[in-house]
Structure formats: structure tokens, C-alpha cells
Point group: C2
Chain length 265, copies 2
């Protein structure tokens, strides 16, 4: 924690946006905010006129390890001081106010912030105090408002959850995770040749046991089986297991054809 | 709260997905989960083997008014019972496990759930206990895993926050809020004609005061002014204020030209 007036802690232009907590009430909420920031890759925290003063040990206790964000947080007497070095300021505002300002969804805000930071602008996002939210004077400092698209009949989020949604969208706006992937660890998705090899094994055993004896129905039954086995991306490991299942079922059938020495099943 | 075995509380097919909390520990977290569900329009809660039993009054106290979700929640002895009537089951899994299952981001999962519910499939999302998360046996019941795209160096979310992200993405997947809009309340964005009318007023006064007297620079200066006033979407109300500003500044200048009867500014 650094007092303003000491070495200024100004993130370089183009860094991740600064979270500005305006008049927060509970130190625990400052801590859980730091955790939510870390989840979404936001690291710069400024605190304006916290009700109970700053620093507060309870914030560190509630941060689940996001200590460095709290350690580097700066304290400011008012919003103007907190945003003086910023080029772009957004303000979260869950309720409609009588202000004339562009209003963005959280997702659009995240895109705006990514675009602005890519142009080396220093950005900040204002979050108001628990319950009351930002005042009209705070909102007039913002270039745009952010209003989350959530269930309008149940739109209230606590402070850390509001920060989490914004941090999450910030991360999504640059995330390169494939939206869908198959987790296979030490095995690979089987090739079509591997799959066809298994189908040959299966069909041979089904022919041997008589399951496919109805020549009229045989092509349709085989198509059904092909459709089923082709629907998922079967892995090489799963194919080995399936080969084993077919082999063992066949052997069991052959064994059952002989007198069973154990007399049981 | 209804005991299983009483009238079954099965949402109609195609309803919003069911949130299944598997072996949750703290009743408070069940309450904050209900709140997060309401934020994103999820209303069906099933609770599997909660550590401290169910119902727990502390859940209602923590739900910030999402009582109806808790009132309607059902209790189940294990995951199989909780998902028996479901057609599609996703499981949240923050850490890589040795399972071979499709893995979706939260956003892709939400799209999948919207697509499945639109086909009248009953869907569920499993959330594991605090800290430990879901076990391999739980994950094997799921069609797909959901792994949130968050900061990999700080990926841990508490239970309610994990539910919030999924509920938020569920809502986004069908939300029709324009990503960007100008909030104007009782006024309207000014037309280009209104703006041109103001520009004429401004230029006339600037000519009168001599600000534009350099004929070589005049066209460039006017272009600068036009660019500035045209950049934002100025409202009719703002234009009226700007007309007043120009008029009053001009009158002030003229007054200063005369002897000031008050002797002050």
C-alpha cells in the first residue's frame, strides 16, 4: 500500500485497466475484489475514501492470496485524484440515472478497454460503494457507463461479483482458449482407419454370433452401428478398450457354449 | 424445500438448466449460489448430500432475497438421483483431470445449453464442493466438462462466483441488450440540422469577437471545431446549453466593453 504523494504507482500506458473502488465500506469487500481482479487478470487497484480507512488487515484475509494487488493498491481522497492520469474512464451503474452518457454492456466495455489499451491509453473502471452505488457527480467523470446485461428482476450484485464480471469479460476479450476441445491427456483421437479397423473386428464377431443373420436388415443395422461409433471423437485408448470388450464378450460366448467346469455363470 | 419422494419438482423440458450443488459444505454458499442463479435467470436448484443437512436457515439469510429458489430446491442422496430425469449434463471442472471428455469454456457451455433447451432437453450443470471440487466419479456422469477461461495463475473461484459466471453466460447467450447505446432519458440525440444551426451561431460570435480574423487559418480552425462538436452524439438538451454558453460569453464580452457600474468583474 502506498500513500499518494509517495512514489506514484502509475501503470504504464497500455497496461490492464485500473479498478477504482469509490468509497467502499467493508474491508472484506476490498479483499474479495482483489481476488476477483486476479481471476480476470486485472492488477491495479485504487481506493477512494474508504469508510473504515486503509490499510485494513481484514482485506488481506479475504483476498484468498491476491496479496500483491492489495500491497500495491493506492489511496486517494476523491475520484478526480484517482483518475487524473487516466485517458479513458468507465463507471459501472446498475440503475438508470438521469445522465446522458453512452451505456455499454460489460462485454462491449471489455472490448472498448482492450481497444483503448492497445492504443496505449490508461483506462480505469469505477465501482461505487456497496448498496448506494456511484453518485451522479462520480458518473459525470466517466466517458461511458457500464450496465451489465443480467436478469432485470434480480440485478443486484455484490461488489466483488460486480468486479468479477468485469474482470471476467476483460479476460474473455483477449482469451484464445478454444471454446470446445476434447481433453485426452496421454491418448489421441483415433483416426478413421483405427475406427474402421475396430468396426471390422466388431462386424466379424457379430457375423460369427449370428446377430447380423437377417440379410435384409444387415445394411441398416451396420449403418446404425457406424453412426453411433462415429458420433463422438473416440480416442485410441477407448478403441483399445472397445476391442477388448468385443473380444472378451466373444470368448465368453464361446466359453458358455462349452460345459462350464465351475457350474456357475 | 421439498424432499425427494414428495411431488417431484421436475422443470418442464426446455426450461432453464438445473444447478446441481454436489456435496456443498457451507449453507451460506448455497444461499449466495441462489442469488447468483437469480442474477442470470437460473431458477432450478438441486442439492446432493449437503454436509450440514438441509434445510439450513443460514442459506436463506445469505440469499439476498432469492428465497423462491431455495424454497423450491430439492434434496438428493447422490448425483445419479439428481440427474436421472436430465438429458444433458455438464460438470464444472477447474483443474485438468484424467478423464476423456469434451471441455467447453463457460461461453461455449452456455451456447450448448441454449441449443439443448431449445430442443426441449432438460439440462443440468454440476458444481462440486468448496475446495475439493467434483470427483472423477461425478465427472464420468457428465456429457461435457466446463472449464472457465480465466487467469490460469489465479483461477480459483468460490462456489457462488463459479455459479455466477455460468449463470451470467447463460443470460448473455440470449440477451438482446444493444452492446452500446446512448442513455438520453427525456432528451434526444440532436439532428445534423440542429448541430449546424449551433455551429452557425458559434461561428457568427467567433467572427464578431475577432477569433477567426486570420483568413488563412480560418478554414482549418472551423474544421477543428466541427470535428470536435461532431465527435460525440450531442443531445438536443446539450445543444440548448451550448447555445446559452455562447450567447452568455458574447454578452459578457460586450458588457466588459462598457464601463462596469458595479466596479467588479
Amino acid at each position: 500500500m502506498r500513500e499518494e504523494g509517495a512514489a506514484p504507482l502509475t501503470p504504464p500506458p497500455g497496461e490492464s485497466p485500473i479498478v477504482v473502488l469509490v468509497r467502499p465500506q467493508l474491508a472484506e469487500n476490498i479483499g474479495t475484489t482483489a481476488r476477483a481482479m486476479a481471476n480476470g487478470g486485472l492488477f491495479h487497484l485504487r481506493i477512494v475514501a474508504p469508510r473504515d480507512g486503509w490499510p485494513q488487515q481484514r482485506a488481506w484475509a479475504a483476498s484468498s492470496g491476491a496479496d500483491r494487488i492489495l500491497d500495491a493498491a493506492t489511496l486517494h481522497p476523491d475520484v478526480d485524484h484517482a483518475i487524473a492520469d487516466c485517458h479513458r474512464v468507465l463507471a459501472t451503474c446498475p440503475r438508470p440515472r438521469h445522465v446522458i452518457t453512452p451505456v455499454l454492456t460489460a462485454r462491449a466495455a471489455a472490448e472498448t478497454l482492450r481497444e483503448a489499451t492497445s492504443r496505449d491509453l490508461r483506462c480505469a473502471i469505477l465501482f461505487g460503494p456497496e448498496r448506494a452505488g456511484l453518485e451522479a457527480e462520480d458518473l459525470a467523470r466517466a466517458d461511458s457507463l457500464v450496465r451489465y446485461a443480467v436478469n432485470p428482476e434480480f440485478a443486484s450484485l455484490n461488489l466483488a461479483q460486480a468486479v468479477l464480471i468485469m474482470a471476467y469479460e476483460w479476460w474473455q476479450a483477449a482469451d484464445a482458449t478454444p471454446p470446445r476441445q476434447l481433453q485426452t491427456h496421454r491418448t489421441q483421437v483415433a483416426s478413421k482407419g483405427d475406427l474402421e479397423n475396430f468396426m471390422g473386428h466388431l462386424i466379424a464377431e457379430l457375423d460369427a454370433c449370428g446377430f447380423l443373420r437377417n440379410d435384409a436388415k444387415r445394411p441398416g443395422m451396420l449403418r446404425n452401428l457406424r453412426h453411433w461409433f462415429g458420433r463422438g471423437e473416440v480416442t485410441e485408448q477407448e478403441l483399445r478398450t472397445l476391442h477388448g470388450v468385443v473380444a472378451e464378450l466373444s470368448r465368453g460366448r464361446m466359453r458358455r457354449g462349452r460345459p462350464d467346469p465351475e457350474g456357475g455363470q
